[in-house]
């Protein structure tokens, strides 16, 4: 099926409507009548042809000059048909972006070349990743207003890649455009000879749209029964995933009874096979109890049958989530009562940090556990969008208040900052299993005695960047000023505490987790602890930060010890780069393993240009500014 469904995201003034207008205009999908209307309106307001007027449909939007609701547009080229979910970028309309993204195979993210990557860009990126949209095109717009500068384009590409490393998106491409002037939208730009890639439209026409539907696991949620006469009893539905043939053995959920498919019936005749997305009527060889909300699956391939969901949830209603009242949960063709039994964490969609939360408000996204009155037949969203997605409905107003993406069966994940109820822990690394109330001497008392506060200085950077050198110098400076300090670095923990670990990503993660826990212990003891670790993953560093109690989390200083890879290689004090490049060391950061630079560091020191003293000054200044020392 050659149709591409894509969504567009961007801030109010990024020119999103203009871009869509341009695509439709240059592919001649704009009708004469609409062109006349645009010209009529344009004369009223300003001289430029206002392509945006094409797409800003509702009167209120035209008055405010912004797009306030998801609008769907259709256009086609000889290559492909397109359905655009045009979603507003305005902050309060995040829910609309989630709505548009739920049916999209590609997202076009617009960035104003003058402004670069904004917080909003990060939020859109996060949603794209959460909703598992496989392709992203970053369209750097208004290139005409930055003199078609290649340097500016490269800068924005680098900034986007920087944060996108933390996202789960398979394919990202970048195109410099001017929607208003038409550069690189449909036609190649003469103003940017330095850009040799595809135009935006060409990319849209050629991106591979492998179906987002799961082809393997047969799931048939029953919509309604069809009973024209005594001799026929069929079950109508749309195949959510997988394929089915007559004769195949099936199981009906929730009863668990088995039978075999008798016919696949349609008005055009019975079929030999039906696949994902087909709306059909199935009849079975045996008379079983099947009704709306039942799911027919293959006997040897069943979904999870559960009343406990572990899920990501996006809250879409003005009224905040409540845990003390039931909602109606709609999943495939099933509805049941549901409670949000636990909030595991809320994600800050701009910093990607996890935060403790008592409730979710409009546009909040995070991880929760949900308990339902009746069992659901669910698959993880990443594997099967159709059986991995659900909505929550307010039973009083009937509004759709939340969209959910199932991670799996809940196994009692400990909420952020709380003690686990049982010993059985699903994800120890994400559940800080620590409660400090029982300490004999509270940290505050120790801090008073020390005459300074506790803190953690976390130095991250490539091997050879100078982390340990700087950490030692900072510690000396602090020690001289009567500050209680402790130093943790790779060499000392890897001999003992982490002696059992290697350098594979999972081991690195575990190493950093242990160090984080130790730093937390020293923190509670009132120390300023210096941690000097390559710690290449943002997620791991965030987790170390999140181990500190939320109210004092600003006392965790993430210091990026920045130094170009080439310079680190030249230094190569331990000869490690040479070995890594010779293939003697596997998973070496910067050579054969990635390094994720901090997305939002507290301090950046540049050891290539600045000397040690200058770097130490920088760090001590921040410690003082935060009133730690």
């Amino acid at each position: 099926m050659d149709v591409l469904r894509f969504t567009t995201a961007g801030s109010v003034d990024d020119g999103k409507s203009t871009l869509i207008g341009r695509l439709m205009y240059d592919t001649q999908e704009i009708f004469e009548e609409k062109m006349e209307e645009i010209e009529r309106n344009t004369q009223r307001e300003d001289e430029e042809l206002e392509l945006a007027l094409l797409t800003d449909g509702l009167r209120a939007e035209r008055e405010q000059g912004i797009t306030i609701d998801v609008a769907y547009r259709y256009f086609s080229t000889p290559e492909r048909k397109f359905i655009i979910a045009d979603t507003p970028g305005h902050e309060q309309y995040t829910r609309n972006m989630v709505t548009g993204a739920s049916t999209a195979e590609l997202a076009v993210e617009l960035i104003d070349a003058r402004n670069g990557v904004l917080e909003q860009t990060r939020r859109h990126g996060f949603i794209t990743s959460l909703l598992q949209i496989p392709h992203v095109i970053v369209a750097v717009n208004k290139m005409d207003l930055v003199g078609y500068s290649e340097a500016r384009f490269r800068e924005i590409v680098a900034a986007y890649k920087d944060f996108a490393d933390n996202l789960d998106v398979q394919d990202i491409t970048f195109v410099p455009i001017s929607a208003l002037k038409g550069d690189n939208v449909v036609h190649h730009s003469e103003n940017m000879p330095w850009y040799e890639g595809s135009t935006l439209l060409h990319r849209l026409e050629t991106v591979r749209t492998e179906s987002t539907r799961n082809q393997v696991d047969f799931r048939f949620p029953v919509q309604t029964t069809i009973r024209p006469h005594q001799d026929f009893r069929g079950f109508a539905g749309q195949i959510a995933s997988g394929t089915v043939r007559p004769g195949e053995e099936i199981t009906v959920l929730p009863s668990g009874h088995t039978s075999a498919v008798d016919t696949i019936t349609t008005l055009d005749g019975d079929l030999d096979e039906a696949g994902p997305g087909d709306s059909v009527v199935l009849s079975l060889e045996d008379e079983l109890d099947v009704s709306r909300g039942s799911m027919i699956v293959r006997s040897r391939n069943k979904p999870d049958v559960t009343r406990q969901l572990d899920a990501d949830l996006c809250w879409m209603n003005e009224e905040a989530m409540r845990q003390d009242r039931p909602y109606v949960l709609q999943h495939t063709t099933r509805r049941t009562q549901a409670y949000v039994s636990k909030i595991v964490y809320r994600t800050n969609v701009e910093t990607f940090h996890r935060e403790e939360a008592d409730t979710f408000e409009l546009n909040d996204i995070g991880r929760v556990e949900i308990e339902t009155a009746d069992p659901l037949f669910a698959d993880p969203y990443k594997i099967n969008q159709a059986t991995g997605s659900f909505i929550l409905i307010d039973p009083d107003t009937n509004d759709t208040v939340a969209a959910g993406m199932i991670r799996g069966v809940a196994t009692d994940v400990t909420p952020f900052g709380e003690q686990p109820a049982s010993e059985a822990e699903d994800e120890p690394e994400s559940s800080p299993n620590v409660v400090w109330e029982g300490l004999q001497i509270p940290r505050e008392d120790r801090e008073a005695k020390n005459d300074h506060k506790a803190g953690v200085v976390w130095l991250t950077g490539l091997s050879g960047a100078g982390k340990s050198t700087i950490a030692k110098a900072v510690e000396e400076r602090l020690f001289d000023a009567d500050v209680q300090t402790m130093m943790l670095d790779g060499d000392n923990v890897r001999h003992g505490l982490s002696g059992d670990l290697g350098f594979a990503p999972a081991d690195r993660k575990e190493n950093i987790r242990r160090v984080g826990e130790v730093a937390r212990l020293f923190f509670e003891q009132g120390n300023v602890t210096l941690c000097s670790f390559v710690s290449p993953y943002q997620e791991d560093r965030d987790r170390a930060r999140e181990l500190l109690p939320e109210d004092v989390r600003d006392r965790f200083l993430e210091v990026h010890v920045d130094c170009p890879l080439e310079v680190c290689k030249e230094r190569d004090a331990k000869g490690l780069y040479a070995k890594a490049e010779a293939g003697e060391i596997a998973n070496f950061t910067g050579v054969s393993a990635p390094y994720e630079a901090p997305t939002d560091p507290d301090v950046v020191v540049d050891t290539d240009t600045d000397d040690v003293e200058a770097c130490v000054d920088q760090i001590v200044e921040v410690l003082q500014a935060r009133e730690i020392v």
Binding site: V3, E32, A71, Y72, K81, I83, S102, R292, S389, N398
Partner: protein, 303 residues
């Protein structure tokens, strides 16, 4: 005419989506109805409804709001279709609404019963207690419709509030409604005009002759080509001309404009639609009144 690559697969997808939406409507509501105008979109809807519930018959009645200004061809065609497929027809009459004093006829040369239909429609929905009305509207028709949901919530007064629509995610349609509220459901939301024509051709759906080019007595008003009818009087400077025309939508004779055309077969119509540069509803005089004409009528409860 052979279809371009991928078109048939695309139509399969649109068909399956529409069937899924119709079945959801039947499953989620107690008393749905299909709104029927006699136009090609309604005919497509009836065809899809037959497919959705085969081998059973269509499980909901068909509602036609008769303005009294319909083309005679439309009414004949409607009655034949109902009989052929054993469908249950309900007619709401604008004449009766006017007679009962619930609405007043518009006056003047541009008078149209288009807005009056809203009253008749809402009255009929209330009288029969319909909680969901299936319509053939498409998002590509007009820009107010581009923001319409598949399941579109209407308040107790039948009004549509574009700023307060429920988010609609994946294929999870929320049709829960309160007392006295109802829903409009649009299974053809993702279809374009061209898709409808291609589908009609592929499925061999019968359509009224009005859609194919024929000789008819016409007159021109404000750039729109209108048919001679008992309900339209000529104004000064206007005069009748014989033209070869076809209609792209079918509404009242008073306001449905035609396009000049020689397309007498579906193939020719499709070829014309594929290359045309004038929007489908452009020939509807009722949409040209104000820039936000459709949005206003939709808010009040139009189809």
């Amino acid at each position: 005419m052979p279809m371009p690559d991928g078109t048939s697969e695309h139509l399969d997808w649109l068909e399956s989506e529409a069937i899924h939406v119709m079945r959801e409507t039947v499953a989620q509501f107690d008393n749905p109805v299909l709104m029927f105008s006699g136009g090609k979109d309604s005919l497509t809807m009836v065809h899809l409804a037959r497919k959705a519930f085969h081998p059973a018959t269509v499980p909901f009645p068909i509602l036609h709001v008769d303005t009294g200004h319909n083309f005679p061809e439309t009414i004949d065609f409607r009655d034949t279709l109902m009989e052929k497929h054993d469908l249950n027809l309900i007619v709401g009459s604008v004449e009766e609404t006017i007679a009962s004093g619930r609405a007043k006829e518009e006056q003047g040369p541009d008078a149209s019963r288009n807005k009056l239909q809203i009253v008749t429609l809402l009255d009929t929905i209330e009288e029969h207690g319909f909680d969901a009305a299936l319509g053939g509207a498409r998002r590509d028709e007009e820009k107010a419709r581009a923001k319409e949901r598949f399941f579109s919530h209407r308040d107790r007064f039948g009004n549509w509030d574009p700023k307060n629509q429920r988010p609609e995610l994946w294929t999870l349609y929320n049709g829960r409604s309160g007392q006295g509220e109802h829903f409009r459901v649009f299974p053809l939301s993702n279809w374009t005009e061209l898709n409808v024509w291609q589908y009609i051709q592929r499925e061999g759906i019968e359509i009224p002759s009005l859609y194919l080019a024929h000789e008819r007595t016409m007159f021109e008003r404000d750039g729109v080509l209108l048919p001679k009818s008992p309900y339209n009087d000529l104004r000064e400077d206007e005069h009748y001309v014989e033209k070869s025309v076809r209609f792209r939508t079918i509404g009242d004779m008073t306001c449905t404009g035609a396009v000049e055309s020689t397309a007498t077969t579906l193939d020719e119509v499709i070829a014309e639609v594929a290359t045309t540069q004038q929007a489908e509803r452009g020939a509807r005089a009722d949409d040209q009144r104000a820039e936000a004409a459709m949005e206003e009528r939709k808010r009040e409860g139009y189809f």
